[in-house]
């Protein structure tokens, strides 16, 4: 309960001012395409040079929390996920916005973020020592199985055909191998000099999600204004809260999945949203509504990606191991002030550590308040005429993909993938499984190769990958997950046959 004593520190004028700046700035940066939370936090590091340690961390902590949530804004309104964490949010969120329910989608996403985020920070406060042991239990073999588990959900994610879903995933995994191989340093599939650095995940995300949408707006031609006006529904915050309390199943699945995945070093929050989305779809009674603008989809995805924030800092604060890229940047923010995270951080620098954690709690609440405030304005974006929207999204995609690494090659990759994805979508493929393949491919590969190297030196591959309780548990879940997908495919096929709707 020590953290309560340090709340006072957060409410001094300077600290609270920084908290406000961090939250509002984080929301803006998070909503900007091309700026992932990692980049946003890295951009803010120079500002902390001039601040005291605790104050600098307040700024960074608040920015981290709110960039993750801010990514939902562009995901919902423009269908441009700001970071991999927000991919799942686009699936139902953007569909809702297109139907004029953007305000509701934004409100739900911020409220779910608040619940997930606060839960995650409480885990960090109360269970850090315990969780740090759990985080260490994931070695190369376990991480390999986690990646394979992720692959098994590819087939069931946002696709009407399991085969095409898996094929999309395969294309994504192949795209991820382009460039230099990370361990051996060999060059693979570099057809053009832009590909020398491989495919940047953020640039790819922008292209795969934003460009198909631009092209389908072009494909509608010069639509008369009257034909396309969307009625923007006003949505009261209390209704959103009521909706959230009705969807406790999605909320708790999202929060739990996000907390667990956030803890695993090296996997990070990239896939938390997608896994939570998939799980709550499987457990939902209304699973057929997912992807058509269903509130459970947003709630699961957004609660998961904010729940991961707290646990993702556990390995950093207790063991000095940054478990995610963003945690690595935060480590830099601590080091500049001569603070070494580790098991004795809370004894040596309790003021810094607890003020930082408290600021993340207050930051979550501020983020939610500002988020709800802008939700009603921001939802008007969907009233923007299609022609303007197409041009705006195209411009943002160009600037956003360039700004990731200041590389024109990333822009070419973005546009090529985007145009290709439009045509793939027309033939029943979808972007989400492709992106999941793009994220999971390198995790699976690196851990497989690393695990094999360790296994070759010790007791052999079979023994290495198939012994240990955690390995066996993960293998069992993988088999269950495949079995479930196969069963769903077969039962849905017999359904369509019975109804005679094969086309």
């Amino acid at each position: 309960m020590e953290f309560i004593y340090y709340f006072g520190e957060v409410f001094t004028p300077i600290s609270f001012g920084l908290l406000l700046i961090g939250t509002i700035g984080g929301l803006i940066l998070g909503a900007t395409p091309g700026l992932s939370p990692t980049m946003a936090v890295a951009l803010l590091i120079p500002f902390t040079f001039h601040l005291e340690a605790a104050q600098g961390l307040i700024l960074l902590g608040a920015a981290y929390t709110s960039t993750v949530a801010g990514g939902a804004v562009s995901a919902i309104l423009l269908k441009i996920p700001g970071a991999p964490a927000n991919i799942a949010t686009t699936l139902d969120g953007h569909t809702m916005a297109q139907k004029g329910r953007g305000a509701e989608a934004l409100q739900l996403s911020f409220l779910a973020s608040l619940v997930g985020g606060v839960f995650g920070v409480f885990l960090l406060i109360f269970l850090s020592p315990l969780l740090s042991k759990a985080a260490l239990a994931f070695g190369p073999s376990e991480l390999f199985w986690i990646a394979i588990l992720g692959v098994t959900i590819i087939g069931s994610l946002d696709s009407n055909s399991v085969v095409k879903g898996l094929l999309s995933g395969c294309i994504g995994m192949w795209l991820a191998t382009i460039g230099f191989d990370d361990i051996m340093g060999a060059q693979r599939f570099i057809f053009h000099s832009s590909l020398g650095g491989g495919i940047n995940i953020i640039a790819a995300l922008i292209g795969l999600f934003a460009i198909p949408q631009v092209i389908s707006m072009f494909a509608k031609g010069r639509v008369e204004v009257d034909a396309e006006v969307i009625q923007i529904e006003k949505h009261s915050i209390f209704d959103a809260i009521r909706e959230l309390t009705r969807r406790t199943r999605a909320l708790s699945i999202g929060t739990a999945v996000g907390s667990i995945i956030g803890l695993i070093p090296g996997v990070g929050g990239q896939i938390a949203g997608l896994v939570a989305y998939d799980q709550s779809k499987k457990f939902s009674k209304e699973s057929h509504k997912f992807g058509t603008g269903h509130s459970e989809g947003i709630i699961a995805a957004e609660s998961a990606n904010n729940a991961m924030v707290g646990p993702s800092l556990v390995p950093l604060l207790t063991l000095s191991i940054p478990g995610s890229p963003t945690a690595a940047v935060l480590l830099g923010g601590l080091l500049i002030h001569g603070i070494f995270p580790g098991s004795d951080l809370f004894d040596n620098n309790p003021d810094v550590a607890w003020t930082f954690i408290d600021s993340m709690l207050i930051g979550q609440i501020l983020m939610c308040i500002f988020g709800l405030y802008i939700a009603s304005f921001a939802a008007r974006v969907s009233r923007v005429p299609q022609s303007v929207m197409a041009a705006v999204v195209l411009g943002l995609a160009l600037f956003g993909s360039y700004s990731v690494q200041h590389s024109i090659g990333d822009v070419y990759v973005m546009a090529t993938l985007g145009i290709g994805m439009y045509f793939l979508e027309r033939f029943g493929f979808s972007a989400a499984p492709l992106v999941l393949g793009l994220i999971l491919g390198p995790i699976a590969e690196a851990n497989f190769i690393q695990g094999s190297m360790i296994a070759n030196a010790t007791d052999g591959r079979l023994a290495y990958f198939f012994t240990g309780n955690l390995n066996l548990l993960l293998v069992a879940i993988v088999i269950l997950s495949i079995g479930y997908s196969a069963w769903m495919e077969i039962s849905s096929r017999s359904d369509t046959k019975n109804e005679g709707t094969t086309s």
């Binding site: 094929l167 395969c170 693979r188 160009l398 070419y412 033939f427």
Partner: protein
């Protein structure tokens, strides 16, 4: 028509898969291509399956692309390709964006082309958007984009 486009698209994917598989199995060092070999094998199997289904006319998903839609999107797509792959680097990000934005509005904005009012409106929207982009990327985020002509 629809069947033909499905056959064509899945055929294209299958041939990409075959090329990937060919490269994976011929390139060295073999340790570095172990994973690509694995993926490309699954890739080819799934792609051929999809191709086979399309040939049999049993593709159940996807609406394909109609000729009319292709014609409607063509001008926009051409502007996009010129803008992204050439103009942005050659004439500078902001100049190229201004021109591309205005052309796209002219092409797809339903307001009539014979009234001065709608042209002014387009110009204002373009200027407003570019001002926002400039403030966000150049001033706030300090991203130095290529600026060959003007800014």
């Amino acid at each position: 028509m629809n069947k033909l486009t499905h056959v064509f698209s899945s055929g294209a994917i299958a041939s990409v898969g075959l090329i990937v598989a060919y490269i994976s199995f011929t390139q060295q060092p073999s340790e570095a291509f172990l994973f690509p070999r694995l993926i490309s094998t699954v890739f080819v199997i799934l792609a051929l399956w999809t191709f086979g289904k399309a040939v049999l006319g049993r593709s159940r998903t996807g609406d394909g692309v109609s000729k009319e839609a292709l014609l409607r999107m063509a001008p926009g797509l051409i502007v996009t390709i010129i803008y992204v792959f050439w103009a942005a680097k050659a004439v500078g990000f902001y100049t190229a964006s201004t021109v591309a934005f205005f052309i796209l509005l002219t092409l797809y904005d339903p307001a009539p082309h014979d009234q001065a009012k709608s042209w002014i409106k387009r110009a204002i929207i373009t200027a407003g958007f570019l001002a926002v982009m400039y403030c966000l990327f150049a001033l706030l985020l300090k991203v130095y984009t290529p600026r060959e002509i003007f800014f």
